[in-house]
Symmetry: C2
Subunit: 191 residues, 2 copies
């Protein structure tokens, strides 16, 4: 009853506070308070703040991969598959601003850089769908003959920027605008 309960509350509180105020606007005491838990209790579930932060990242990332693969059909044409992934990603971030903000916080921190470097060198992870799509797209001359990293940048760069602008309230996206934006990203990568 209470074991997963507290852990969940801690994770939720940490996500909210870190997403909103950054790692340094979220002291453990504040996280504990928001989770309605004693400060020491956090340490029953997470060895220290770093572990909490990293674990939280893992959970957020996992959900993204799940969302991307939902309804993804390998047999559809490149363009459709790209639009599916791009739209799913953008929508997911729009619907889960806390997740998005958390990822941004994480990426721009010592943790994030190390993580990124690690993921890059292992050349694996949940980006596999994207990697496969892009590699095949290039070899079948549907996409520009550019290094994978650059294709990623052309596809994700705008989406993340737009998601950020939406979340910060600089723009209000409707279905049509989302579609147009993802289409524009496709224009960037397609041959």
């Amino acid at each position: 009853m209470s074991k997963p309960d507290k852990r969940e509350e801690i994770v939720r509180a940490a996500l909210e506070l870190i997403a909103e105020h950054g790692f340094h606007g979220a002291p453990m005491a504040m996280i504990a308070e928001r989770a309605e838990v004693g400060a020491g209790t956090i340490y029953r579930y997470f060895e220290n703040k770093d572990v909490l932060i990293t674990e939280l990242y893992r959970e957020v990332e996992e959900k993204i991969y799940a969302v991307l693969l939902e309804g993804y059909a390998t047999e559809r044409p490149f363009r459709e598959r790209f639009l599916h992934l791009g739209t799913a990603l953008l929508r997911h971030f729009m619907e889960n601003p806390l997740h998005f903000r958390y990822l941004e916080q994480f990426h721009n921190s010592p943790y994030g850089v190390a993580f990124r470097r690690d993921k890059f060198s292992r050349k694996k992870g949940g980006c596999d769908v994207f990697r496969e799509l892009f590699e095949d797209g290039v070899s079948q001359q549907v996409m520009k003959a550019l290094p994978l990293v650059i294709l990623f940048a052309l596809a994700f760069g705008p989406l993340l920027t737009v998601a950020r602008d939406h979340i910060l309230g600089f723009i209000s996206l409707d279905d049509a605008l989302i579609a147009q934006t993802v289409e524009a990203c496709w224009d960037g990568v397609r041959r």
Copy 2:
């Protein structure tokens, strides 16, 4: 010895340390040490750490605008003007990785969000060149009929991502690749 000397050293040290280790990996004492200056001396030039950080941002931003305008010819066609700006921006970041890293740190912090919000509402600043280019491009049907914010995202998103990847060593960009990348961004915004 002279007055501007120390100030400059402080600014340089702060830029280096903050770009490399983030705001919280750059205590004032460390900045002072790197600048070969007493800790208290910093406070002769900057009221407090916030002021130092904000002023540093101002200086970094200023240089960018200077670089963008260098050789910018209003009378050239849209595509050429876009390529000029995009290339100049990307090259500037590649050549000044500390500036780039600093901007990223700044943007992902309470300072940055407030700044961004302020700039957005005032609708002014050094992005004017870009704004004008995009507004004219849209009205002359050369660019996609999308909100300015989205066109910005399509143009900058990939460039910043690529710059980051280059600086982190995930890719090595040569002249040809830079040109291709900026061209691809143009494909994203052009009609």
